[in-house]
Every structure is written in structure tokens, then in C-alpha cells.
Amino acid sequence: MTDITARRLSRRSLLQVAGSSAAIIAFASTSLIAQDGSPKRIVAVGGAVTEILYALGTQDRIVGIDTTSLYPPSALKDKPNVGYMRQLSAEGVLSLSPDLVLVSAGSGPPPALKLLEEAGVRLVTVPDTPTAAGAIEKIQAIGRAIGLEAKASALANDVEKRFAAVAKARESVSRPVKVLFVLAMQSGRPLVAGTGTAADGMIGLAGATNIGAGFNGYKAMTDEAIITAAPDVVVMMAREGLHADPDTVFANAALSATPAGAARRLVTADGHWLLGFGPRTPEAVAYLMQAFYPDMPQVKALSASPNLPTEAGK
């Protein structure tokens, strides 16, 4: 910076003028595209948002995703990552020149979202409720935001039909199994899903009873409470670094002293498949039901349905 001569300075400023006008033209053209209602540069924040955009075949329009966008697995490899959904950087998102930022409810921080809106970027919040209706609503909200209502409605109808299939099977459940969902083992103590969690919603959809229903969110449960609650099945996420196999899980004294431990009933599935509440959720519900009620004919019949593959996510 110290040895700039006058001649170089003028040449440089000339280049700058040329460069900046080129950039202005490029920017102007992207903002023109943004006006016709079908955004071309989308930043997707939230695992289910990304998943639905891929399911709608609009992955080529995604220019950025967040760290929770784990499905499909190629997303994290192919797209720039703007960080954790609750800790977005306004400038980071802007650097991708998006014409639409689709954020899952609960994204933030609020000042960053406010700055994005001030920057004239269209910001749409996608609701996130852990129910069947919530998953449908998500698909439709995204369809409206990207101007693909018809395609989204088709996908939503399809998902709705599959939800109806598992709901029908659920009606035949006469004696619900008691389920303990373990998010993680916190220094040997299970961190259990209570009400209001996505896991609680999934257990309900699969026609089972969540024994964590007495508290909110994910809480460490004491050994004695677990034994008293007597779960029939333990459900965990299958992921790297978590030893979700029956030998490890039922080595825990409390878990081994439950009916689940006696029968060594442990169900594992990919966490985002299980808890994402997106288009793949009916399959995950069917998978859980088959693990919970292996002998029920109505549940067995689910696997005959071509729409409900059950081997996914293990």
C-alpha cells in the first residue's frame, strides 16, 4: 500500500470503475429476475426447508444452506454453508446475493433477519410444527414462496395420502406401547424427549405413548423414574459417535431393568429422517410402527404399500 505511484493509482482507479460498473450491471440483472416472482437464488435455512426444495426439484436455485440441512447428503457438499440457523450472519447471507431467504421458524438472530429485510431481500419464514398438518403446511408455504404452488400442492397431497395410510393403521392400535426416546446419553444418563419435541410428535403419530410426556423439552431422566415408567421400547437416533446398539444402550442399569431392556427392544433411525417433519415423515412413522407393532396385520400391510419404503434411515 505504501509504494503506489500516481500512474498506478490512476490505472487502478480506472480498473475499479470498470469493475464496479460490471458488478453493478450483474447485480442489476439479478434484481430484475427477482421481480418476476420465481426466485432464482434461494438461501435455505432449516433441514426440512432444504429437503422440500430438493423434493420440489429446485435444488439448482439454492445458493446457500445452513448447518442443519443434512438431507440430501449432497446438499452440504454442494452448497455454501451460512452457519447454524439461529446464528446467521447478515453479511454472510447477503454475500450470496439471494433474492429469497427461506428460513425455518426459530431462525435468527432477529437483528440479522431485520438487516436482510432492510437490504431488500425477500425473507419468508416457514412454520415448523411437529405434526402431520405441520409437515403439509411447510410444503405449501415453501411452494407459495417460490411460486410453485401447483407442484407443492401435488407433493403435499401425496404426503397427505401417505399420512392417511399410517393414520389408518394407527386406528387399529388397541394397546399402545410405551416409548422412551433417548436424544443422547449425557455422561451415562439418558437425555429423554418430553412434550413439545419432534420426537414426542413422532411417537404420537406412530400410535405409541411417550413416557417423557410429564415434562417439556429434552431432560435428563433419573434412573428410578425410568424404571418406574417401564418403557417397552427405546428409540434413538443412529448417528456417528453415538453408540446406539443394544449392547451399549442396555448396559445402562436403569434401561436394562425395564421391559425394553428385558426384550432388548431398541429402535434406531437417522435423526433427520425421524425428526425433520418433512416429505419423508410418513415413511419414518411407518418404520416406527413396524418396529413397535411387528405382529399387527394392519401395520404389516403398510410395507406392501409402494409409497412407504421402510428400510430407509436405519
Partner: protein, 371 residues
């Protein structure tokens, strides 16, 4: 610190002393020039660098249009927005937060005559953290009953600020009796109050859900990412008392370093000085924590670095701390937004990653000096 040999001292005492003073003055001037340069450089980099790449010419253009109100090229609107609404408030906030954390560190170390004192000791950080935890975890239950819809944006910083002030006030009341403030009691009560606040924060952590837990974690790691003009203008008044008090406190802290009784006999209003320092620190650090979360180690590291470079004279140490603290925080913030761009690292990770090893080295060096 070179001490002249006794012989030379006896021969021409005045000349040698003058030479030593001269050398020290030159050294101080040199360090100050360096610090100003460092601060200017880091401010420029902070304004010019980020996830959105904007060439220097356009950065200047955006600044010019912002200062003069001269309408920017409509197509360069995004540039001006990034420079004027994201980076400029962020740089200003970084300046204020960095300078106050470092100066308050130096003030606390001077007041306690303890090199390990930091602004957190007077309860500001623990009080602010507790208030922040209350807002994050319990806020959703109360916000619907509160009058302003904008409250969620401002509730956290306001609560953190008030929490810091309240804790400092309680601590001050606890440690002062019959018109005197015991520095030792202040320190110990600060530790106790900090533990209590930690326990309640822990309880709130237990009550929190997943998202609140992550919010708490991010808040406790600090970030300048939330800087807006609103934040800058609301927080600014709390930093002003520090700037006003700064020139007057150097002499007093120098006298205090002799000991409280000695300073009193030198005619120093010791009690009033203590009160001023505590109030100023509570305001400035409370505002810093409220606007950027907890940013560790700046308050401890910066004064120590400067004491090694220019000595312990508070008259120069305090302003130098302001310059270096601001420069250090701006530089850390530039790294925070570049390393994982377009995502962003919490700045507390960087200041602690730089500060903690330095702090350890300092401890070991001191131990060697003592033994």
C-alpha cells in the same frame, strides 16, 4: 527497564535521569504512534473486508454518500447497505466494546492493585449473564404481556445492562460500611455473588429447551454480529462516562498503587475514586456485555501487554489500553467473519483462543519472577 550503574548516577545524576525519562518518553510516544496506526489499520480492514466483497473504491463511495447524504448510485444500493448498515455500526460497536473492556480491565487492576482483576470481578458479567439467561429462557412467557412489539429485539440488551448494574450496586452496598469500601470484601463478595448467579443461570439452563440452550451458549461466546445503528446509539451513552473519566483517573490510580493509606495521605479522595471507578466500569462493561455478549480476556490481556511495553504509569496505560483493546477486538472480529464465511464464528472463541495461552504464559513468567 535498564537501570543506570551507580557510578554514572553519582557522576551526573541529573543528566542520566533526564536521559532515562527522555528515552521512556520516546518509547511511549513510539508505542502510541504504533497503537494509533494499528487502530486505524484495523478500522479500515473492518470496514473494507467481509463476506460481501466490495472493492475499496466502492467502499469509499458508500461511506461518502452516507456522510454527505449524496444519493448513491441506485445499483450500488447493496454496497451502501452493507457498508453503512452492517459494517460501520459493527466497527463502531467493536471500537467501543474493545476499548471499554480493555480500559475497564486496566482500571480494575489498578483499583484492586491485583494484576489478575478483571471487570467481571465487580459482578457486571455474572449479573448481566443471569439477566440474559432469564430473558432467553423465561422471556417467551412474559413477552406477550408486555406493551411493545419491538421488545424482543431490545429486551436482551436492556436486561443484561440492568442486571450488570444491579449486581454491581448490590456488591457495592455489601462491601461498604461506615463510609468506607473494603476492596478485599468487594473481591470476595464478588466471587460469592458470581457463584450464586452461576447457580441460578444453571437452573435456567436446566429449564431451557434446545433452542434456548443454544441461544445461551452463543450469547456467552459473544458476537458483534448483531450490531445495528439502533444498538450503537442506545449503548453509546453508557460509554461516555468512561471517556470523560479516563483523563482524570490516571493520576489517582498511580497514587493508589502506593497503597490506600498512602494515597489518602497524599490528599487523594480515595473513597470517591473507588466509587467513580466502580460506577464507570459497571456502566461501560454492562453496555459492552449487553451489546455483544460475553467477550473474554480482552480486559486481562490488553493492560498486561501494555504494561510490558510502556510500564505501569496509568496516565499512559489507560488511553493505550483503549487503543489496543479496540484494535484487538476489531481484528478478532474481522477473523470471526472471514474464517468460516459466509457463516460467522462467535468472537469470544477467538479472543479466548488468543488470550488464554497468553494469560498462561504471563502466569508462568510471573511465577518465575517471584521464585
Amino acid at each position: 527497564m535498564s537501570t543506570s550503574p551507580m557510578g554514572a548516577f553519582a557522576d551526573s545524576a541529573g543528566e542520566t535521569l533526564a536521559a532515562t525519562l527522555q528515552r521512556r518518553r520516546q518509547r511511549t510516544a513510539f508505542v502510541f504512534a504504533l497503537l494509533v496506526l494499528l487502530l486505524v489499520a484495523s478500522s479500515i480492514v473492518s470496514l473494507g473486508v467481509g463476506a460481501v466483497s466490495i472493492p475499496p473504491g466502492r467502499t469509499l463511495g458508500a461511506l461518502w454518500s452516507g456522510l454527505t447524504g449524496w444519493p448513491a448510485d441506485a445499483n450500488a444500493a447493496r454496497d451502501s447497505l452493507v457498508i453503512l448498515n452492517i459494517r460501520l455500526p459493527r466497527t463502531l460497536l467493536g471500537l467501543m466494546v474493545g476499548a471499554s473492556l480493555a480500559v475497564c480491565g486496566a482500571l480494575m487492576q489498578g483499583l484492586f492493585r491485583n494484576p489478575l482483576a478483571d471487570p467481571g470481578l465487580v459482578g457486571v458479567s455474572s449479573g448481566a449473564a443471569l439477566a440474559a439467561a432469564i430473558v432467553i429462557v423465561l422471556g417467551e412467557r412474559f413477552l406477550p404481556y408486555l406493551p411493545f412489539t419491538t421488545l424482543p429485539f431490545v429486551a436482551l440488551p436492556i436486561a443484561a445492562f440492568l442486571g450488570g448494574l444491579l449486581f454491581t450496586y448490590v456488591l457495592y452496598v455489601l462491601s461498604s460500611g461506615s463510609g468506607r469500601t473494603s476492596v478485599a470484601t468487594l473481591l470476595l463478595a464478588g466471587v460469592a455473588l458470581g457463584a450464586m448467579a452461576g447457580a441460578i443461570t444453571g437452573l435456567l439452563t436446566f429449564l431451557s429447551n434446545d433452542q434456548q440452550l443454544r441461544d445461551l451458549t452463543f450469547w456467552s461466546l459473544g458476537s458483534l454480529g448483531g450490531a445495528t445503528w439502533t444498538k450503537v446509539t442506545t449503548i453509546l451513552p453508557a460509554f461516555i462516562p468512561l471517556a470523560i473519566a479516563l483523563p482524570f483517573l490516571g493520576r489517582s490510580l498511580n497514587a493508589l498503587s502506593l497503597g490506600e493509606a498512602e494515597a489518602f495521605h497524599l490528599g487523594l479522595p480515595v473513597e470517591r475514586i473507588k466509587r467513580i471507578v466502580i460506577v464507570v466500569v459497571a456502566l461501560a462493561v454492562g453496555a459492552a456485555v449487553a451489546s455483544a455478549g460475553v467477550i473474554g480476556f480482552v480486559g486481562i490481556v490488553v493492560p498486561h501487554l501494555l504494561r510490558l511495553a510502556i510500564g505501569a504509569n496509568h496516565k499512559v496505560l489507560l488511553p493505550a489500553s483503549a487503543l489496543l483493546g479496540a484494535a484487538l477486538l476489531l481484528a478478532s472480529d474481522v477473523l470471526a467473519r472471514l474464517i468460516v464465511s459466509p457463516a460467522e464464528l462467535p468472537i469470544g472463541i477467538l479472543t479466548a483462543a488468543i488470550g488464554a495461552p497468553f494469560f498462561l504464559w504471563l502466569l508462568l513468567a510471573r511465577r518465575k519472577m517471584v521464585t
